[in-house]
Every structure is written in C-alpha cells, then in structure tokens.
C-alpha cells in the first residue's frame, strides 16, 4: 500500500486552487465548500395531507389495528383458560402458539398502528433545532473554579495535610475489610484438585446401572461409560454414600470410560505397561482442556474426541493429544481384576484429572 502515491489530489502552494484563493481573500478560514448548502428542501405534503379520502383511510387503518389489538388481547385471555397445557398442534405446543400469536399480534399491531399514525397523519414538518457546544462557557468555567477554590479553601484541605492524609489513609484502609470479608467465598484448594474418589480395589461399574464389569463382558470396540462403585453404595443407615452436589463434585473428577483395544495396537506410556487388562483400559472421562466429559470413541481409529473443543486423544498411545487445544494426555486409571473376576482400580489416578491449573505439575502424592 505504501508504494502508492498519497497525493491523489495534488496540492501545490505555488499554484493555489480556486477555492484556496477564495479562502485567502474571503473571511472564511476554511476553503469554500464546492457546492453551497441549498438549505432545507421545500416541505411537500403527503397524499394524506391533500386527499381527504386517503386521510380517512389512514385513520381507519390505524384505528383498525388498535381494535384488532383489543380483539387479540381478549383472545389471549380466552386461549389462556381454554387451551389445555399439553395440547399439540403441528407438533408444537398449542398453548404456547396461541398465547404467543395473540399477545405478539396485539403488541405488534399497537406498534405498527402508532407508527402509521405518526407517518400518515401527524404533522410532519421537519424542525430545525440549533446545537450548542458541549463545553460550558468560559464564564461558567471561571465561576465553577472559583466556587471549588472557595470550598477547598474553607475546608482547609490544602492547609491541613495531617487531616487530609490521615483521611485518605483511613478510607484506603477500609478496602482491607472489604477484601478480607470475601475470604470465605470458598475454601482453599488444598489437595482436592489432585485426588479423586478412586481407591485401590474399588470396582469399575457401569454408569447409570451400577453393574460391575468383568473383562469377558467387554469386546474389542466396546465403550463403557463407567463410574467408581462407591457412587452406588449406601452407608449403614441405607443412605447413599455420595448424594446431591457432593456426588456431582465427585463425578466431575471420577468419571471414566472403559475401552478395549487389541493389545498389539497399544503403545503404553512409560511405566504404565501393566495398567490394562488384556487391552481393556480405563481413562478419565474429563477432558484435560476445560473439562467436558469425552466419550466420542472411534473404535477403529482408537481416537477419542471431545465434543466441546475437539481435542482428540489417541487412547492406543497413552492418551496422547493428537489434535486440538488440549495439552495434557488423558490420565489413565491403573486396572486389575479382583477375586470375583470384576475390574478394579489398583489406585487413584496418578496425576490430576480435568482441566489444567497452575499447580497441576506439582507432586502432591
């Protein structure tokens, strides 16, 4: 762009253009405008201004719209009391449609009617209003300054620095209680982001049904959305061990998926070669990017895709990220089989699950 000449309208002081001469000789500082302002065009009447028939018609139109709005408003009330809540029309809820069309129609017609009234019937002479500069007059500025000075002077704000500074300090220090008060917004994180409810020996069970999984149930190509068995257990009083928001908090970290890949296809991460059971592997279901649960499992490519931001993991390759904005590989849960032949964890996850946080690579075991 820069190669192009910037003076497409050449200016040359030696050869002033006509309007520059005008400007120099005239009283205007700016060069004269190329075309004079022709002024506001003559006001022309509208058809409704000159033809009484059209005027009458416009009047009827506007009043007609307002009347129709009355009818629709009444129709709304009728629909409210007569249309059953679960009735259906065109595959839509009848009540929603009936209430919406009547209320929306009434409102819309009032609006269109009012605008039509303004456009067709109200006087439509354009009015000129002069502007004033946004700034105050010099006189006002002067007077304002004097008034402020007088006030400051009378307060002694400038003469008594001890009072002034201690006041500023006092108000500033009020910020401390305001901040300190917010301390109990939540607990400190502690080790919580590093741990889940998984423990050595805890069974891997099917989500929703809570059924334990035995290796024989799981074919190559299978996907099981699973949870730790503790979510389906009750305490001695018959209450669920985890319930309500506690359950959700625990689930937000402990959810897993179980997949089975042909053992030949698997390249385990270092030190994790015995974490699978005959190609059955359990990975965290929580994306290491921002925490969506991931279960878009492509059984033929061994790829796992997150539906939120498309981070793609290769579960045959230690959960490595192969595409997308996620960074950390998907944590794997070390797996074994208990004496009853069901899949169990041999420990908690060995690394934090879920989205990264500043301390994620600190060792808190």
């Amino acid at each position: 762009m820069s190669s192009e000449s910037h003076d497409e309208q050449p200016r040359d002081a030696a050869h002033p253009t006509h309007d520059e001469i005008v400007a120099r000789e005239g009283h205007d500082v700016e060069p004269a405008e190329p075309i004079d302002n022709p002024g506001l065009p003559e006001h022309l009447p509208r058809p409704t201004d000159v033809d009484p028939k059209l005027e009458k018609r416009a009047e009827r139109q506007v009043a007609g719209m307002f009347t129709a709005a009355i009818v629709l408003a009444v129709g709304f009330c009728v629909a409210y009391f007569t249309v059953p809540k679960d009735a259906e029309i065109f595959g839509w809820f009848s009540l929603n449609l009936a209430l919406g069309l009547t209320l929306g129609g009434a409102l819309f017609l009032i609006g269109i009617g009012a605008i039509q009234w303004a456009k067709k019937l109200m006087a439509d002479h354009e009015v000129i209003e002069m502007r004033h500069p946004a700034r105050s007059s010099d006189e006002d500025r002067e007077a304002a300054l004097e008034a402020v000075d007088a006030g400051v002077d009378e307060s002694g704000f400038g003469r008594r620095p001890l009072i002034r500074n201690s006041l500023i300090g006092a108000v500033a220090f009020l910020g401390l209680p305001a901040i300190v008060m917010l301390r109990d917004l939540g607990p400190l994180p502690g080790d919580k982001p590093f741990n889940t409810v998984w423990r050595k020996g805890m069974r891997v069970v099917n989500d929703v049904s809570g059924e334990p999984l035995s290796p024989g149930d799981i074919e190559v190509g299978q996907l099981v959305n699973a949870q730790p068995s503790v979510f389906f257990e009750t305490d001695s009083h018959g209450h669920a061990v985890f319930h309500g928001t506690e359950l959700l908090q625990a689930k937000a970290k402990a959810s897993v998926i179980v997949v089975r890949i042909r053992p030949d296809d698997i390249t385990p991460r270092k030190g994790q070669s015995n974490w699978d059971v005959d190609g059955i592997m359990v990975y965290s279901k929580i994306c290491t990017h921002v925490g969506c649960p991931i279960s878009l499992w492509e059984q033929q490519t061994h790829h796992l895709l997150c539906p939120c931001h498309q981070t793609t993991y290769d579960l045959a390759d230690g959960g490595k990220v192969i595409f997308g904005p996620g960074h950390r590989p998907l944590p794997q849960l070390p797996l074994a089989v208990d004496e009853d032949g069901y899949l169990i964890a041999t420990s908690d996850f060995r690394e934090p699950v879920g989205p990264s946080f500043p301390e994620v690579h600190q060792n808190r075991d």
Binding site: E8, Q9, T17, G39, G104, V127, G186
Partner: protein
Amino acid sequence: MSTTSTPLKDTGVGKKAAGPVEWLDDRIGLAGLVRKNIRKVFPDHWSFLLGEIALWSFVVLLLTGTFLTFWFQPSMAEVPYDGSYDPLRGLEMSQAYASTLNISFDIRGGLLVRQIHHWAAALFMAAIIAHMLRVFFTGAYRKPRELNWLIGIGLFAIGLIEGFAGYSLPDDLLSGTGLRFVDGLIRSIPVVGTYIEFFVFGGEFPGELIIARLYMAHIFLLPGLLLGLIAAHMVLLVYHKHTQWPGPGRTEKNVVGYPMLPVYAAKAGGFFFVVFGFTTLMAATLQINPIWAYGPYNPSEVTAGSQPDWYMGWVEGAVRIMPNWEFTIGPQTISLNVFIPAVLLMGILFTVLAIWPFFESWVTGDKKEHHLLQRPRNAPTRTAFGVAGMTFYGVCWIAGGNDIIALKFNLDIFTITWMARVLVFVGPVIAFIVTRRICISLQRKDNDAILHGYETGIIVRSAEGSYAEAHAPLPPEKAFALTARPRVPELTAPVSEDENGVANPDGRKARLRAWAKRFFYAHDVDKPTRFEVEDAAHHFHDDVYPPHDFPDDFSGVSETGVPKQH
C-alpha cells in the same frame, strides 16, 4: 390537518388535571423540563433505530425476567422431579432445573415468557453490536461523544456477562457444560487460577453455590449496572443531541428532524411495541433452548453441539482454534491454550474498542466537535480497520460452530479448524486491503458523479457512429450531500530538527504520529474543489459524455429502461 385542536388547558381533561399538575410543578418545576425537552428534535434514519432495538429489548428483558423470578428457584439442592414432563420424572435434579421445567410445562404462558426472555437476550446483544458497528463506521463516536462510546462498550461487556449468567441459571446439561468451561477458564489464570476457582464456586466445581451467586448477579447486580449505564447513555444522547447525516439544510450547528412530541414519541413508543411484539411472535413460533431435551446437568454427560449462545460464539471459536500451548516453569503451569483465547482475547477486544476514538483523534489531530456523520467510504482507513476487525471476529465465530458446519456441510472438522487458524490472521489483512480499495473507488465514483453527472442509462449514437452513455447532472441537493464532508488534511513531514540543527525533543513521537496520520489519510480521495465543480459544470456539454437535454424532472432510467421522473 387544517383544524387545530383546543388547547389542553381548555379541554375537560385539562381542567381536571390542572390542579394536580400545578401541585407537581410547585414542587419539582416540571414545566421547565417539559418546555426544554418535549419538542426536542430527533433525526430520522433507520440505522439510528438499532440502538433503540437494544433499549427496547432490555425493557422486554426486565418485564419477562421479573415474571420468571416468581417461580424460578436459584438452588442447586438436588430434588426428585415430579412435574408433568414424563421423560424426566423421578430423576434427581437441582431445584433450579426442576423449577425451570415447572415454568416450561406447568405455568401457563411460562414457556412463552421463557422463550421471549431468551430471544430478547439474543436480540439485545445483536442490536448492541449492530448499533456499535453503525456508530463506528459513521464516526459517530468522535468528539464530543467519546464518553458515550465508552459507556456503550461497558454496556456491551456487561451484556455479555449478563447473558452468560442467564444461560447458566437453568442448570440443564447445556448450561452446566458452559459453567464447566468457565471453570477451566478460571483455572487457566496464572498463579491464582485454582484459588479463584474455589472462591467463585465455593469449593470444587460445581459446588452448591454458583447458581445462587449467578442469580444475584443476573437479576440484581448486572441489570442494575446496565440500567445505570443506559440512563447515562440516554442523558448524554439528549445533551449532545443526535448526530445526523449530511444533507441540504443540515450542518454541524443544527439538527433537523421531528419533534419528540408527537412524531418521535409515536414512532419510538410504537417501536417498543414492535420489538416486544416481534420477540413474542418469535417465541410463539421458534423454539429456543429446549432445556427439557438436554436433561439435568451431570458432569459425566455432554451433548454433541454444545455451544454457548451466539454472542460468546467467537470466544468459543478462538478456544477451539488455539494451538495447545501449555508451559510449566518451575512449580507453575501456564495454560496459554485457554488463557489467551478465553481471557486475554476478550480483554483485548474491549481495550481496542475503548481506546479507538482517542487513538484516532491522536492520529488525525482532529479535536473539533463532529455532529455530521461520515459515510464509511469517506474514512477508508477506519472502515478498513473495522472490516478487518469484523473479519477476525467472524472467523472466530465460524470456528465456534465448526462441528455444526462439519456436520451440515459434510466437511472435515479438522480442516475447518486449520482453515480458521490461517484465516484468523490472513483474513483481516485481506479484508483491510480490499475494503480500503473499495472505499477509495467509491470516493472516486462520488467525485465522478459530482463533476460529470450520473449515468442515465440512455445510449446515444453520435454523428460519427460511436456510442456513449448520456450523463445528467446530479440534483443540487444530492451533489451537496456528496460534498458535505471534511477535506483531507494536508500531510506534512514532521520536523526532526529545527533550523539551528537542534533535534526536536518530540522527534520520534512526532515522526510516528506523522506516519500514522499519513497511513490514515494517504489514499483518501478528496472532494472536488469549488473551482473544479464550476469548471466541470461549465464544460458539461463539451465533455466526453454526449450532451443531452433532459426535462427538469428527469432522474435517469430505471433498470428496465423506463425513464424515471421526480
């Protein structure tokens, strides 16, 4: 209307109201206010109504939102659902979600109001952005309106957060997934991320407090701020008086239009009903956010096509196309893959928007008040910057829907992501160059029309047998409107040293500023001079364009070749 109506004070109503009105005026001096403002002039142009759409949607949001609060319970306590929606009955869910189902299925009209509220929110943000683009491309933010621009940016930013808070309240699977994203976003803040996460959620995600906290923000804190800022926005609008397009009779010193009472009151008041009615009709016929289909939030469930509402779509897209940069320095891990697109980028957008008016005025050195709008073509560099910004936003926005696009157009989602990664940088540059060239061409076209008239569509054969299109002079009003714009300022090289060879202390800054000014104006085509206009008028008939005599009311021929008349 030829008949005038009776003065108000002589009518029956007037006589009855006289007492109370006097009582009121005795106490608050109403008449002064009324006298000053009731005939205030507002110019008419459709683009001046974009902000009004936002204003009226906000009123609709307040009305419908109040209705929704009568039943909504901002609690995350888990309860079994026993309402009338079969496929979820018996399921444990938060009270927030259960009460939203209740509003949708058991409160008559609740579903309608929920949908009006959601559509109005989508329209509120869309209208804010459309209004902001109008203000930007017409230069309406220039002195004395910079502060009102800043207030507008504040409204935009708070509107985003307000919308997101509302999106999260029903605690359905989609809104919970959105909160999960915010959780990851907060965690990505360097050093303190984990702590802020625990403070915001009152513990680990999702905790039991976040909905109640967002509810407070959504129905009290943020609407309060919005209301205050909107009031300030309107007060400044009235104080500055509205900008207007240049045209015959319109100057920097006046404003031409219709008085507040009656025309503007009827039009603006009518427009409120139009906006309310329109959103209601949309709510009647277009489903939005069917929370029952998503199910209650459960951190182990998600649905394909999980997206934020449209106004957060560009952030979502930026997050999707960001490379997976994450670094560990000592004990600290910095997740730039989330922090840059989700936190920094929004900050950058609002900062750039906020400083633009001041930056432009620094570059141009223009400290005058401006009340006449500029056509986008007459500020080519600004327009080009604006379109480049829109392109950046647009690419991110499209990337935010990459899964839907891949599904609906049978494309590869990774290819779309890669294209967006490239286009997000290349697109704005191309858009900048192309837009500036288009603007400059349009400026040339305007000048051509002023000097040589417009093309009439009449082909004339000369005696020699050559063909040419006859031109006719522009009507003076139109020609004036085209020239009613500031001249391109003279561009001088900065003085790096004075005549004694002493280096200018501001040399580097001045050079930078001169360079910026030159970049800003360099390619602009100035309007013709008076001399040129008069000269062209004089030679109109011996120009290259064939002369032709037109009747007074001739105004060219239409596309189909029929002569048009005024």
